[in-house]
Symmetry: C2
Subunit: 285 residues, 2 copies
């Protein structure tokens, strides 16, 4: 690589993606996971948890646009938003661009991710002191179990279903999310990959299909996730992401996004046939 340092992420035993590293900026072990931030030459700064690439400065706009704006433009009036996870701050940053949002609660279990992002990833963590944001360093599982607050949109911005995030892919968690959601509430969750994590994806959709009347899956192109094609799962008590999507709200918002736009909203739900075969049975028409 012409570099002395690199990070290499394995997907299984036989495939890896390797990034040349200019400098290690942060290297820690929290109670939950290892947290590393490195400066790469071609992807900017990169956050890794337990050795897996979470976000890079180069492509984080894709993930954060798609986790936030699809549900926020689907919901008729998303005043209160809950983020579970999302310690780097990118999801909160995008949520808070919507003027209609009055309050955003972000519940991140790992203070180290938040603090390291505040120091080294200012382009993502820049909204963590926003007056509409309530940042809580605690377990999101417990929070949805115990809170009396009611939300319009819940965003589950989690790592893979191993380690601290495993219960976020469970049925008890989604029953509590359902309880916390208002009548027209929507939840969107990091939904894994139909190529590489199809069992996790299928299990997640099977769980939400038993709880929510509306279920959909949508795809996005992430440079630094293996295979590029990753998905978000969307479930709701009523609003449908295509039937109830009023695309004129996007231009009326006067917001500009680097990835998301009206066409991308529609197009992301166009699932390739192999993916429909895999999970179509769990999705609502």
């Amino acid at each position: 690589m012409g570099k002395k340092l690199f990070v290499e992420e394995f997907q299984g035993l036989d495939f890896s993606m390797k990034y040349g590293v200019e400098k290690t900026l942060f290297c820690g072990q929290s109670d939950f996971q290892s947290v590393d931030i490195v400066e790469t030459k071609t992807f900017g700064k990169m956050l890794l948890n337990d050795g897996l690439v979470m976000v890079t400065e180069r492509d984080e706009f894709v993930y954060h646009d798609m986790i936030a704006h699809v549900p926020l433009f689907t919901h008729p009036c998303p005043r209160k938003v809950l983020i579970i996870g999302g310690g780097d701050g990118g999801t909160a940053r995008e949520v808070l661009r919507h003027d209609v949002v009055e309050k955003c609660v972000m519940v991140e279990i790992d203070a180290m991710v938040v603090e390291a992002s505040r120091t080294h990833l200012p382009s993502m963590s820049c909204s963590l002191d926003h007056p509409k944001l309530e940042l809580r360093i605690e377990d999101g599982i417990k929070y949805v179990e115990e809170t009396d607050e009611v939300f319009d949109v819940v965003l589950v911005d989690s790592t893979d279903p191993i380690g601290p995030a495993a219960p976020l892919f469970g049925s008890a968690f989604y029953q509590n999310v359902y309880r916390c959601l208002a009548e027209t509430g929507i939840v969107v969750a990091q939904g894994e990959s139909s190529h590489y994590e199809k069992k996790s994806q299928e299990k997640l959709l099977s769980i939400v299909s038993e709880i929510f009347p509306v279920r959909a899956l949508y795809n996005y192109h992430n440079l630094t996730y293996p295979g590029g094609m990753w998905s978000f799962a969307l479930a709701s008590k009523g609003p449908h992401p295509l039937k109830d999507f009023d695309s004129s709200k996007v231009s009326a918002s006067r917001l500009n996004f680097r990835y998301y736009n009206e066409a991308v909203h529609w197009g992301a739900f166009a699932l390739p046939s192999f993916q429909k075969d895999l999970v179509g049975g769990y999705l609502s028409p």
Copy 2:
């Protein structure tokens, strides 16, 4: 990787994708490029030209569905099809599934790619002896310059614009493609990546925009191309891939595809904002 052999493809100097190899099946040097076929554990057999991954058994359906079926379902009656390149045979295989196709001419410059694919990639090369196929081992550049044949659809199934494929990204080539196309003719070309090869993509679109009245770009998710999001460029003398797309023809064809379907046809043209900013100026409305 737990393997003694691996192949590693670099995208620039600071990023690579690495695949564990079980066995090397073919290793040759033609007049044009190096040709390798290896057996990988998780992607099946893999063809590399000059060390770059061209196709793997695991994900070739994505590329071949999208290069062939988007134009063939856009064109009102694609009787005659020309393939430039496509030595592995996967594109011809998909073209020949359309009963309406009466003749398909495939012009591949490198006999070694064809012969190695015949021997080691039967799932792709299986249609190379199809009675409707005329396989010519010669230079596609010269072919479109000299032929008197007229085609409804031309598919440029090429490698990157370095080495033997470089002239396939040039203006003279596209002027000749225009000449070979019937009145409602469509050309689709491997269109590179808006993330990693944006200069090549922009140059290609700038060239076709000076020759063809209709120009569009569409995306697909390829597991083994860096970043996952790659594009095809479509240009035509008349038919528009969205305005003139009659989606009922897809179900009427009774063909089943692992990636392509009506929704994917629409969705593939939904370009993310950064991509529209990059190349939107070259595309027709």
